[in-house]
């Protein structure tokens, strides 16, 4: 299967998805590099994949199962976390409104 190069339109979509606003020279450089990298990724598509039983998971030996017990432990400085926010007031994070006015989810 032949990988298609990333078209300028498709590129605009991923720039949007990544929340970037790029200068023309940056766009040109990035798009070119992406397409070069895609040529390399092309290799993977050409591999005849027998139903590979090989596990892709890292083997993490865990002696016994140690799931986290459901016990509360307070973090000692929650206020400090809020105060690291560039915009915060009275213990709340502040953000501007959405352009569309309502939330996205």
């Amino acid at each position: 299967m032949q990988l298609e190069k990333i078209s300028p339109e498709a590129f605009e979509k991923i720039v949007d998805m990544a929340a970037f606003a790029l200068e023309p020279e940056e766009k040109a450089y990035l798009l070119e590099e992406l397409n070069h990298q895609l040529q390399s990724v092309q290799e993977l598509l050409d591999i005849p994949l027998e139903e590979s039983s090989a596990s892709s998971l890292n083997k993490i030996p865990r002696v016994g199962d140690a799931p986290r017990q459901d016990k509360w432990q307070a973090f000692d400085t929650p206020r400090g976390i809020v105060e690291r926010a560039p915009q915060n007031e009275d213990g709340m994070f502040l953000v501007p409104e959405s352009a569309g006015g309502k939330d996205l989810s």
Binding site: Y29, L44, S56, N58, V63
Partner: protein
């Protein structure tokens, strides 16, 4: 001889014995930094002129106050006759990608230029608990994306102490440079595709990537979650083993950390390599690289001196009693980089989604609306290399794709892992204990020589990246200098959680080189400092 030339083990012993004061050790380290480092990397810093710049520039910031307090605490313990720790009084530099409470962790990016973590990474905490002195944060490729340290937003970025017109490698460039330049005795780096081993090889120091899960990742700002490994850089194998001893072990804050018991690495070092089966593979004598002008794949052979050093090392080990097995096939090595492009980019793009200007770090103060906040923060906060990775990750993971790239790459990753499993299988055709390969295809390259060509830069990691895909342990040790007096590194790879095996092999090899002529050559940046 300056204290900064002592090994970590010697320092800890002398400090514990009261022969060396931790505060004096710290002073020596700081003095060395002042003598050789030059300007630290900063956001408004400039690139230097390779023709005239002979400084190392390994550091982004010092943590002097913290280090003084730690040194004092060590001295107090020693005075009371208490155990001051395995690394008592040893100066350590930390790649600026680890959270350390009360310091700024920049990730070498404008995005986190003012980020003070509210907690400390487990690996760093363990070093501190063992009496280490944290002297400062060293430079890296921005968010660990790179193999030369050049993409750092904090300029001047590190130079290679052996020749300051050359790169130290990356992404743990500052780590390797600070150790090679005797500014720190040990450094904590990270290895995702070779980011400890490649710069360690370029800078003529020992660098180790432990098995995935051997050292906790909690507090390491993630690049690729399924590949990242914190690890030690040091000037000899024993010191690397010592540092690993301190850091290894399960962490309840990291589900991917192994609960396997930690052996005594220092003990095994003394064991010889008689009967150890060490393999060589022709798949590691060149890199298969896509030429985008011709569209063809070429195989570029490994630099001759490096190939020779690898064979010489095999010979030395054979003389020590090891069995050398040649032509071990590792056929899927050539897919290491394409798989890396997919897995690491998708994971990296995802991990960086949290950088949005709301909770911490860089932000734009006059955003029109939420979308503007996100877009401008991320555009201005991230450098070009992070942008490239994020875009690639976004593209490859977009749902509209006909192919599920992550799944495909994961499958091929399994095939790479299988190459190693077959090689190490105790009932298989090769029954290896370790694989011996060059660490890098070339010695250090000149600054600006490759930067910008993202594919060629990435392919420089082909000898190291498969190890990350398989989650195995590997170590690089200095094996000589090329005709430019640039360091050569060779790599030992072993099966999961067989750090002891590669430490033994590396140590045994290292011992045979102690009197070598190349060991007497000093890095260029240190030649003025007596």
């Amino acid at each position: 001889m300056s204290y900064t030339q002592l090994s970590a083990r010697e320092i800890a012993q002398k400090v514990q014995a009261g022969e060396l004061k931790a505060c004096d050790m710290l002073e020596a380290s700081l003095a060395q930094i002042r003598a050789v480092d030059g300007d630290f990397g900063s956001l408004d810093g400039q690139l230097t002129d390779p023709e005239t710049d002979n400084k190392v520039h390994a550091f982004i910031s010092l943590t002097e106050n913290m280090a003084h307090a730690q040194a004092q605490a060590v001295e107090d313990k020693v005075a009371k006759g208490e155990d001051a720790g395995l690394l008592a009084g040893v100066p350590v530099s930390i790649k600026d990608i680890f959270a350390l409470e009360n310091t700024v962790t920049t990730a070498a990016s404008r995005m986190l230029h003012n980020y003070r973590a509210p907690y400390t990474a487990t690996a760093v905490q363990k070093l501190m608990d063992a009496g280490a002195l944290i002297v400062g944060k060293v430079n890296l490729d921005e968010f660990t994306f790179g193999s030369s340290n050049e993409s750092s937003a904090y300029q001047p970025a590190s130079n290679n102490p052996w020749n300051t017109a050359y790169v130290p490698g990356g992404s743990s460039g500052g780590s390797a440079a600070s150790v090679a330049a005797e500014e720190a005795v040990l450094s904590l780096g990270t290895d995702t595709g070779g980011s400890i081993r490649q710069p360690a090889a370029f800078c003529g120091v020992v660098g180790m990537k432990p098995s995935y899960g051997r050292v906790s990742r909690y507090g390491l700002i993630a690049f690729a979650s399924s590949l990242d490994c914190p690890g030690p850089l040091a000037r000899n194998v024993e010191d690397a083993a010592l540092m690993l001893q301190v850091m290894a072990g399960a962490d309840e804050r990291d589900e991917s950390s192994a609960t396997l018991p930690v052996p005594n690495y220092l003990e095994v070092l003394q064991q010889d390599v008689k009967g150890m089966r060490i393999g060589l593979s022709s798949d590691y004598t060149g890199i298969a690289y896509p030429n985008h002008t011709t569209g063809e794949f070429e195989v570029i052979p490994v630099q001759d001196e490096i190939k020779q050093a690898t064979l010489d090392a095999a010979e030395q080990l054979a003389r020590q009693g090891a069995e050398i097995i040649e032509n071990v096939p590792m056929p899927h090595t050539r897919y290491g980089i394409p798989v890396y492009f997919v897995v690491s980019r998708i994971e990296a793009a995802s991990n960086l989604n949290r950088m949005d200007g709301v909770k911490y770090g860089y932000t734009v103060a006059d955003a029109r609306d939420l979308q503007d906040l996100y877009t401008r923060t991320r555009t201005e906060g991230f450098g070009l290399q992070p942008k490239l990775r994020i875009l690639m990750g976004a593209y490859l993971s977009a749902t509209s794709k006909k192919v599920n790239y992550y799944q495909l790459a994961s499958q091929v990753r399994g095939m790479i892992r299988q190459d190693f499993e077959l090689a190490f299988d105790p009932k298989g055709a090769y029954q290896l204990d370790a694989l011996l390969t060059p660490t890098t295809p070339t010695t250090a390259f000149k600054r600006a020589e490759i930067f910008g060509d993202s594919v060629l830069m990435q392919y420089a990691d082909q000898m190291t990246v498969s190890v990350n895909h398989a989650g195995l342990p590997a170590i690089t040790v200095p094996a000589g200098l090329d005709k430019m007096n640039l360091p050569i590194g060779i790599q030992f790879i072993a099966n999961h959680f067989q750090e002891e095996t590669i430490l033994r092999a590396a140590y045994a090899y290292e011992q045979t080189t102690l009197d070598a002529a190349w060991r007497k050559v000093r890095p260029m940046a240190l030649q003025e400092v007596k």
